[in-house]
Amino acid sequence: MSATTQHIKAKPLWNKQKLMPWLFLMPGILFFAIYVIFPIFQSFNISFYKWSGLGEPKYIGLKNYVKLFGDRAFEISLWNNLKWLVLYLLAIPTGLAIALFLNQTVTGIRLYKSLFFFPFVISQVVVGLVFTWFYDPTFGLLNTILTSLGFAPLNVLGDPTLVTYGIILAGLWPQTAYCMILYLTGLNTVDPDQVEAARLDGAKGLRMLWYIILPQLRPATFIAFVVTVIGALRSFDLVSIMTNGGPFGSSRVLSFYMFEKALSEYGFRMGYGAAIAVVLFAIMMVFIVYFLRAMYKQESEPR
């Protein structure tokens, strides 16, 4: 074959390889740009205005942000988000523990696994309702148990100091199941040779877990961490269902406060809501950048 024909053949091939991925990505990129990227910048823009959602927006510069710093409801929401962030991470070790426990071959293990996974399958609304009934101060199971054991009854969802923890506990139920399933699939890929070798070297119990199993579960841990952190920051449904942000706003989180200010019946403050959204976005961005970097590093590592 001569050099010229090769040249002619090679060029369209180069084009194809460069172009085709973009063509395939096009619909996704387009929708992502319209429905995600563009609204992000739009929110940034709206947060500099005072706007009721009707009529003309009025430019007020950074005033919305200045107001945020003096706003007690915002402060409470921020703290609650922090509580969510920290306590929600408990789902990872609990999920791992359950996964290790279920990672055995006994009759009916599939059934047990599905039962443990069940809370993740049902909707958050149902989880919220189930826990609301569980916590019900008059008829709830929790107080029935507490009083039969001789303790004073609790109104978890009506007590400003307990309410957020009560909701986080409800959130942990499905989140633990999610982490469990991630670890169960992870455990399938653990190399039996390594486990065997470690056993020959006398590794057992916790040492085996720490030095042999966990390092191999790193991808699963990473994903579990990502989904849990994101899940904690976007917690909304449970708060909305279980307490509607109450009592007197003590269980609000940023996403709920944003919704209340901008879109709910008593809101109509689009600019202020957008400012809250921007703050939430900034917090999320810290984690997202970290995740993306970690993923990028992982992928560029030689295997």
Binding site: G55, N155, T243, G249, S264, E265
Partner: protein
């Protein structure tokens, strides 16, 4: 959810064509009429559909399109559809809830309707609630009284009579608490029920004009008169008058307490009668009294929220919409849709008949003869939305932790400075 009524209307038309033929010949409308309604609960929905059937029968050539939107969703969706793709008619609420739409020029001025004889003669009582800047922005279709619904049998058992003064009220409540019950059930999870209590204690302590001024941001929350309202309210709270843990319950979830006899009464709107009856409280067990007088120098005033229809400025068939409005407020239609087997509320047309129902009769008598001070809409309709939201949250906190009052009032005062 889109429900196309063209077919039903055509069917209804054929059957009633003979009857309405003469009328249709002279006044019949043609073209389209697009209605967005929030009457999504079963009874209101049947009422809305019934009205369209009857209106359609009168105007066989009119295409009526009804879209029913969930009542809660309507509160956010109305922002979108009044500013683009507007219907010809939409439901909403009276008083300050109209302000954002009127200010943005999204509601049509219908003052010309209110100048017509029917409106001048028979609808005067609700005119104020539909008036902003001296113009009218919609029409009412129903309203309902608020007041104390109580367990007649428990009152009998304890030898109590309907109180009329604050002293009698407290004496009654003392006896009820002593019998191991709460005086009042209430569910404040969604806050507005606490707004009802504040409204009444405040209306009775300081009167209607004060209520309006406070709602308009003209009075400080730290004003001694506001404090007096809270002090009066606190007397009941300190007696243990309210059911415990009310902050975790919605108003519906608070009903079992009165049904089971753990609480003797509830301060609420007439819409609570239907579920209470369904739960087994027959008319000999349930009765109604007007909220007692507190300050004898203050004229009695009531909360009676009014539900309304409006024409968006962007509507395409405004004349058709106005004709529908005339139809809605007509005495005959008002009697029909507010009857006990329909909405079970009060008609806004003075010529309408009130259905013979124990509670509607008492409510109608109360509002027409014993509310000289005026008729307020409700805390969350008279106050601007944002103030109402923050305010009711403070009221709920006050009911749970009355000692936080100072902090709450300062917070509301800061919000007031910011909002108005």
């Amino acid at each position: 959810m889109l429900f196309n009524f063209k077919k039903t209307v055509v069917a209804a038309t054929t059957s009633t064509l003979l009857a309405t033929g003469a009328f249709a010949g002279s006044h019949a409308l043609s073209g389209d009429l697009v209605i967005f309604s929030d009457m999504s609960n079963p009874a209101p929905r049947a009422v809305m559909e019934g009205m369209i059937d009857r209106f359609g029968a009168m105007h066989p050539n009119l295409n009526i399109d009804l879209t029913v939107i969930d009542r809660e969703n309507m509160k956010t969706q109305i922002l979108n559809f009044t500013s683009a793709n507007a219907p010809d008619l939409t439901n909403w609420y009276a008083a300050n809830r109209m302000i954002p739409f009127v200010d943005a020029g999204l509601f049509e001025d219908v003052s010309d309707l209110w100048a017509e004889d029917e409106f001048v003669n028979n609808l005067a009582s609700t005119k104020g609630a539909l008036t902003l800047d001296g113009k009218q922005w919609g029409i009412p279709y129903t309203y309902y009284q608020w007041g104390v619904y109580y367990r007649e049998d428990i009152f009998k058992e304890l030898g109590l009579t309907e109180p009329t003064t604050w002293a009698e009220e407290k004496a009654n409540c003392g006896k009820i608490v002593a019998s191991g019950r709460a005086c009042y059930t209430i569910g404040t999870k969604y806050l507005w029920t606490a707004g009802g209590w504040f409204d009444y204690v405040n209306l009775r302590t300081n009167g209607y004009d004060f209520h309006v001024q406070l709602a308009n941001g003209e009075i400080a929350w730290t004003d001694p008169r506001v404090r007096q309202t809270f002090a009066n309210w606190r007397e009941l709270i300190d007696m243990g008058a309210f059911v415990e843990n009310h902050q975790t319950y919605s108003w519906q979830e608070s009903l079992p307490f009165i049904v089971n006899g753990d609480a003797a009464a509830i301060l609420i709107g007439n819409f609570a009668v239907a579920p209470l009856r369904e739960a087994g409280l027959s008319d000999d067990k349930l009765d109604f009294y007007q909220f007692v007088s507190i300050n004898p120098d203050v004229a009695m005033a009531e909360d009676a929220p009014t539900d309304t229809f409006h024409i968006p400025s962007l509507a395409k068939n405004k004349e058709n919409a106005k004709e529908f409005m005339r139809f809605v407020v007509s005495a005959e239609n008002q009697t029909l849709i507010n009857a006990g087997n329909a909405l079970g509320q009060l008609p806004i047309n003075a010529q309408s008949a009130v259905d013979d129902d124990e509670f509607l009769n008492q409510g109608f008598a109360m509002l027409s003869t014993n509310s000289p001070g005026g008729v307020a809409q409700f805390f969350d309709r008279d106050f601007p939305a944002e103030m109402a939201g923050i305010g009711m949250e403070g009221l709920q906190e006050f009911m749970v932790f009355p000692d936080n009052l100072e902090d709450i009032l300062n917070r509301l005062e800061t919000a007031r400075a910011d909002i108005y």
